[in-house]
Symmetry: C2
Subunit: 306 residues, 2 copies
């Protein structure tokens, strides 16, 4: 009998202060039954993404603890970054990986949300599969306006939180919590400082996705990484089965080339499904049969003949 | 406590007769405690490679059974193929994957060899980590001359088998059995029928490997796939940690390009370590941080925090 596993990938609005970043990671590391698998801090985004997984109850506990550490330490009044955000714990997705249904995972995410709202006095919105009936469920809508627009306002009507106080926490804003399927967070850095090139590519993706199946679940932003003078197309592939990683890379590379711009490098935040990694390798090696079933280690814990 | 796992990757001298190929695969599938993960049959090589893994004793049993089926059915007197071979079961490597030492695996391979020799009356050579003291251990030496050279001869001196009769089996030749580390079997097909291009590339690899670390464990042959009019560089990366798959691909691609020849496609036989697949994806995506630790599924069965 295999262990039940869920993943949590919280995004925090702090990508520079090492003490704070380590405190977030340590809050996860001190919980038995979870494993921190990635910690990606970006000074320009001014964000940190933790990726951890484990037994559902342990992941819920670790999620609460790192949210607690973030809300104590991060002050959004001091925070400037290129990435949109509304909270110190900006978004906290839970992903069912094995032996856990989406419904169970959505309920567990809500429980974490109610605990954050109740114990830490921060308004909480439930998103994606955890959204309550009749409420908005998508991240861009819930985050629209950001911390600065809503701080000090009464959160009513469509902006009313699903749990917690009716005003943003004065330093920590709000938390958006929910269950969703796996996504790939993938940034493509261009060899130009002209952010308008990245913005135009992101706009093209948003325009084309209505009639391009490979782009349907792709969210795109054009950003400037100021510390490096690098324009970035920041992508979320929310339907990785529909959007091969290599295909999206090739699409952006081609659009950039039309502007005389090249891909400098890419960044993967957290982890990606084996199929996406194998697909990119297959493309490089001109090997149509190369898929995740060609990866030796993935067979070690499969079922044997009865 | 995780299951102990070994892998077996026997190469059979039959790549055309579907009944025979299915009989080999079924001999593996009927054994409890193993899993057949790949079956690659090539009509030009006139070879089939099975890849299966599981509990050591179950893998040993499945190995004996598919060797038995091959020795009953394959007649080397009728066999012509482009790949060198000395037996119906030409080579039968065992690879320790988890919880099994190389020494244990080498001993288990010898037990299978003694059983094949004793029950099926076929001479057996032990190779690689199973080689006996003072005897040759490498596959090219043991296979040199092939079935046609040795059939009907007394096998004495350095050609004396390690077990079984002192003459080749009249239809099944000999079996080369042993334990080794994981390797990557990788073929690069060129868009030319000129086999001399593939042969020259293979020769360059053999010449350069003495002073090129990435080529040190690479075995290369240039072959013609007659049925398709395609020249092939057939490669074994016997030290995959030292020879990145993408690097070897790039090396062959560059040598071919100098002759005005392109890579048509590649073939992976069996499975490859995640590091090799991730490395090729990293190269394609220009992502230096992309390695096997970025593959989500590989974390599912790791240890959690205590």
């Amino acid at each position: 009998m295999k262990r039940r596993v869920i993943e949590c990938v919280p995004n925090f609005s702090e990508g520079r202060n090492r003490d704070t970043i380590h405190a977030l990671a340590n809050a996860v590391r001190e919980v038995a039954g979870v494993r921190l698998v990635d910690m990606s801090a970006d000074p320009d985004h001014h964000r940190t993404v933790l990726t951890f997984l484990g037994e559902p109850e342990a992941v819920a506990e670790a999620a609460f603890r790192c949210a607690h550490a973030a809300i104590q330490r991060i002050d959004l009044r001091q925070h400037r970054g290129v990435h949109p955000r509304i909270g110190a714990v900006d978004v906290m997705p839970f992903i069912p990986l094995r032996g856990v249904s989406m419904t169970e995972c959505a309920e567990l995410a809500r429980q974490v949300g109610y605990r954050i709202a109740g114990q830490l006095e921060v308004p909480v919105y439930f998103y994606e599969q955890s959204a309550l009936p009749g409420k908005p469920s998508d991240l861009p809508t819930l985050r629209r306006g950001g911390f600065e627009k809503w701080v000090g306002q009464m959160l009513t009507g469509s902006r009313a939180p699903d749990a917690g106080p009716n005003t943003l926490h004065p330093t920590a804003g709000a938390v958006i919590v929910g269950a969703r399927g796996p996504l790939i967070a993938f940034n493509i850095n261009l060899n130009t400082a002209r952010v308008e090139v990245a913005q135009a590519i992101a706009r093209t993706i948003r325009q084309e996705r209505a009639h391009t199946p490979e782009l349907r679940g792709v969210r795109a932003l054009g950003l400037l990484l100021e510390s490096r003078g690098v324009a970035q197309v920041s992508l979320n592939l929310t339907q990785p089965d529909q959007s091969p990683l290599w295909w999206v890379f090739e699409y952006v590379r081609t659009l950039a080339a039309r502007e005389g711009v090249e891909v400098l490098e890419t960044e993967l935040i957290g982890v990606a499904p084996a199929a996406a990694v194998a697909g990119a390798a297959a493309r490089y090696l001109r090997n149509q049969a190369l898929d995740e079933e060609r990866i030796l280690e993935l067979w070690l814990d499969t079922e044997w003949n009865p």
